[in-house]
């Protein structure tokens, strides 16, 4: 079968630029008699097709579509928990070294390093640990807080910041599972924020109904913005990475434009800030007015349950995973790949939209051009750290929420810039994506040679399909 019946024509390489070997398989004897022939023809043309852009667990060593890698995969997964912990540890150590390297005391003690090395080491230790202690105190538990309420205030702040990270991360993770790289959570949060905040401050409705409308408006805003990407991907084959990056910028400039117009600007203000949302339109606080934590966090938990059910228990979720694992096989099995692509991007956008609602109706209560902060980009690292599983994403969202909340406290207490969190976050994801590297660093790679050669020969069989 030629590529004309593919649902994504432009994604398929130009036939006249495919090298001859692959093209030869394309001019199949036709018309094809039955489905069996069709399957075979698809397989032989396989070398010319691109595999799914995103392996389900973005992990090294697992080439998409390699069937015999099960034993290798199992090996990786058995060491999974350890690799994750070691990756976090390694990232924290490297971050600590970076903090120490720029510390003044460390600098002065390094001057007489050879005279008294203990001073230097003590300074390195204290620079790194004091920052991390401050980070912990700002994120989880502060023993110096006033009363129990004050001591647990950091934890509440962590949960507040984790809320948009979790929901947006779920959106990214869900798209990953369908083989789509959703970089667009940022734009989806912004679009959701625009719609939700407008409903929140422009309309004046009774209690309950108003918040519901805000919620719906936000989710729809995000879903539409994500859905357009799905449609473009399914109908024209436009690469979702590029489209979502561009959509992020389009959404941001659209937001800036709106904040420049009378409809969105707070009356009497010239700064780009919207009116405050109606009291009826904001999430109720969970534990009273001393914390910022709002009902949005419960919705984040509900969203996690929903995505977990969707992926593991529903037909649609099965289709998503099938498309993510192998779009050609999914198509052959009768799954409507276009529909799945559009649907998964719509739901992903809706989930990111929930994050936008959490921002405008929960944490911020106004719309500014920083409504999405960097939540959309952080969501990608959250989903990667969570290995695209719903509860993994939830946990990763909590961890990164803790980093974010604690970093503020850390900067105040020790002067360590917030940016260190970005470094640690990205290092964690990098290390988790390459387990062999982590194991090599910790000397946990006894069977490295054997596994590598086994993997090589097996994968070569599949990658060599086009020849």
């Amino acid at each position: 079968m030629s590529e004309n019946t593919e649902p994504r024509p432009a994604a398929v390489p130009d036939p006249d630029r495919i090298p001859a070997a692959a093209q030869a398989t394309e001019v199949e004897p036709e018309p094809l008699e039955d489905d069996a022939d069709f399957v075979v023809a698809l397989d032989t043309a396989g070398g010319a097709h691109q595999p799914s852009a995103v392996p389900v667990t973005a992990q090294s060593g697992s080439l998409p579509g390699a069937p015999e890698e099960e034993s290798l995969m199992r090996k990786i997964f058995t060491g999974n928990g350890i690799v994750t912990i070691l990756a976090v540890l390694l990232a924290l150590v490297l971050g600590g070294l970076l903090i120490a390297a720029t510390d003044k005391v460390v600098g002065t003690t390094a001057g007489y390093l050879f005279a008294r090395p203990s001073d230097f080491l003590a300074a390195v230790w204290s620079a790194a640990t004091s920052s991390y202690v401050a980070l912990f105190q700002g994120a989880v538990f502060n023993p110096h807080g006033t009363g129990v309420a004050g001591q647990f205030a950091p934890l509440m702040e962590t949960l507040t910041i984790a809320t948009p990270l979790i929901t947006a991360g779920l959106g990214v993770a869900l798209a990953f599972r369908a083989g789509l790289f959703n970089i667009g959570a940022q734009g989806q949060i912004i679009m959701a924020g625009i719609l939700a905040s407008w409903v929140g401050f422009a309309l004046h409705l009774p209690l309950g109904l108003h918040l519901l409308l805000v919620l719906v408006a936000g989710v729809v805003g995000g879903a539409v913005w994500g859905g357009i990407v799905g449609v473009l991907k399914a109908r024209t084959g436009a690469h979702e990475v590029i489209v979502t990056i561009m959509f992020n910028y389009i959404a941001l400039y659209f937001l800036r434009y709106l904040l420049d117009t009378p409809a969105f600007q707070r009356p009497g203000e010239t700064t780009p800030i919207s009116p405050i949302l109606d009291p009826n339109a904001v999430y109720p606080l969970l534990f009273g007015s001393q914390y910022r934590l709002h009902v949005g966090f419960l919705l984040a938990i509900a969203a996690t349950v929903f995505v977990s059910w969707l992926l593991n228990r529903s037909t649609i979720g099965f289709e998503f995973r099938a498309v993510g694992a192998n779009p050609k096989a999914a198509l052959t099995a009768g799954i409507n790949v276009s529909r799945a692509t559009i649907l998964v991007m719509t739901i992903a956008g809706g989930l990111a939209g929930l994050a936008g609602v959490a921002q405008v109706a929960g944490t911020e209560k106004v719309l500014t051009d920083g409504v999405a902060a960097t939540y959309g980009f952080d969501a990608i690292t959250v989903a990667l750290l969570g290995r695209s599983s719903p509860w993994g994403t939830f946990a990763a969202g909590l961890l990164f929420g803790a980093f974010r909340a604690g970093a503020v406290q850390m900067q105040i207490q020790t002067g360590t810039p917030i940016d260190i969190v970005l470094v640690v976050q990205s290092l964690i994801v990098l290390f988790i994506a390459a387990p062999p590297l982590v194991r090599a660093i910790f000397g946990l790679n006894p069977r490295k040679k054997k596994a590598a050669t086994a993997g090589k020969t097996k994968q070569a069989v599949t990658t060599g399909g086009a020849a």
Binding site: M1, E3, N4, T5, E6, A10, P13, D14, D16, R17, P19, A21, E26, E30, F38, A48, Q50, P51, A53, V54, P55, S60, G61, S62, L63, T102, F181, I183, L232, R235, T236, A238, H239, I242, I245, M246, Y249, I250, Y253, R339, F377, I380, T381, P417, D419, V423, V424, Q425, S426, L427, V429, L430, A433, A434, L437, T457, A460, T463, A466, A467
Partner: protein, 438 residues
């Protein structure tokens, strides 16, 4: 949408007896003619029928020019009408070609269409402004200046992706280059040392990308995205702890001098853009030409492209696929690093957080719009620089078009481009697919 879209929607792959033979599989679609027609109608309504009545004035010569040319004054309404009619004609021609002969429009047509559209747009914007006069020379020179980092970034993308490695980390390479250039130039008091260091820094960022993408077979997009965050965090951290602590010592790189080639730089319009640049600006032209010749006219380039299109075939012929990829990605990083030095050694003489401001992603867009070709990427980057520059000029002269929409334009155009509505851009076949030697 077009005919291909409708035929491709069918979910279940039934063997279709009526389908086109595989040989003519590059179908002539309605996409381009219809898109052109829609744009032409929009142009006719806005630039023509609803066009401003005033006169748009374009200054051609600047004060220091070799000889002076008079400013061009055009009646906005009349020229808007004429130009939009030309656009309608071009679109009609494309439609007729498709309908009558089922042929695609000639290659010059979209290019001419774009140029006429941009000119009509410019006249419309300037004609409707409060002060309907801009300096064309300044506009173009400014566009080229703003395009410099984008050009370098997109060249980095071309080098990487032609070898089959997706480079989302252009932003990180630019940022890393900008930071290192500022730091090294400040410490050594020599901007040229900063320039060199920027290339090294960009190459280092690239090497991490190459290591993870090639050796550990991690998804290339993931590595790219994460690297951007890593570089942003690292430079932000070091900026606060090192540079801000002692700005005189660590963040005062000084500027690369503007090298003015006598006589030639006095030519109106093209003089300043070609012969009055910093070293980075001249390097840009050199890099575009060298990389184009390298990729398309040399043995090396043929090998690189083979690796990007069909690594198995390349490997069979004895080309070291992964080594080629590694060094290409590294070279790309060095090129982007030089581009990053533009921010801190040419544009302004200090580093600030996130100084690259998303230009790496625009560079990515320019590469796609330029169809993975250095020269195409160069012109696409110029277009984006032009939009960027026009945006700031528009706010000064005061037009009805909100500046945010001008800023949005490059991204919208890119979405149209990747969706195949404006031309057709196709990545190298093995782009983003790791290769494991058998």
């Amino acid at each position: 949408m077009s005919t291909t879209a409708t035929s491709s929607v069918e979910g279940k792959p039934q063997p279709d007896k009526n389908r086109r033979p595989a040989a003519s599989a590059k179908p002539v679609t309605w996409k381009l003619p219809v898109t052109l027609a829609v744009l032409a109608v929009i142009a006719f309504i806005f630039f023509g029928l609803l066009g401003p009545q005033g006169t748009a004035k374009f200054g051609v010569s600047s004060g220091g020019d070799f000889f002076q040319l008079p400013a061009i004054e055009v009646p906005a309404f009349l020229s808007g009408m004429v130009l939009s009619l030309i656009l309608l004609g071009l679109a009609g021609y494309a439609l007729v070609l498709k309908a009558k002969q089922n042929a695609r429009p000639p290659r010059w047509l979209p290019a001419v269409f774009t140029v006429v559209f941009v000119v009509a747009f410019l006249i419309w914007v300037v004609g409707g402004a409060r002060t309907p006069s801009i300096s064309l020379a300044g506009l173009i020179a400014g566009s080229v200046t703003l395009a410099v980092p984008i050009v370098f970034g997109s060249l980095s993308g071309v080098l990487c992706e032609r070898a089959g490695v997706v480079n989302i980390a252009i932003e990180g390479q630019l940022l890393g280059g900008a930071f290192t250039a500022a730091l090294v130039a400040s410490v050594t008091h020599n901007p040229y040392a900063g320039l060199l260091a920027a290339a090294v820094a960009g190459a280092l960022v690239s090497m991490v990308l190459a290591l993870f993408a090639i050796k550990y077979v991690v998804n290339q997009i993931i590595v790219g995205v994460v690297l951007n965050v890593l570089v942003s965090g690292l430079t932000g951290f070091l900026f606060t702890t090192v540079m801000q602590a002692d700005a005189d010592k660590y963040n005062s790189p000084g500027r690369l001098p503007i090298i003015d080639i006598p006589v030639l730089s006095g030519i109106p319009v093209i003089g300043p853009i070609l012969f009055k640049q910093s070293v980075v600006g001249y390097l840009m032209y050199v890099a575009v030409i060298v990389i184009w010749i390298g990729l398309f006219k040399t043995k090396w380039g043929l090998r690189v492209r083979a690796v990007g299109e069909h690594p198995q075939a390349a490997d069979t012929l004895g080309i070291k696929v992964n080594a080629t990829r590694f060094w290409n990605v590294t070279l790309g990083g060095a090129v982007a690093g030089i581009g990053g030095s533009f921010f801190t050694l040419v544009a302004i003489d200090s580093f600030t957080k996130e100084i690259s401001g998303g230009r790496g992603f625009i560079a990515l867009a320019a590469m796609i719009l330029g169809r993975w070709n250095p020269i195409g990427a160069f012109f696409a980057a110029l277009l984006f620089g032009f939009a960027d520059n026009l945006q700031s000029i528009v706010t000064i002269i005061g037009t009805p078009v909100p500046s945010q929409f001008m800023a949005m334009l490059p991204y919208v155009v890119t979405v149209f481009a990747v969706a195949g509505l404006v031309g057709r851009s196709r990545p190298p076949a093995a782009d983003g697919i790791p290769y494991i030697k058998g």
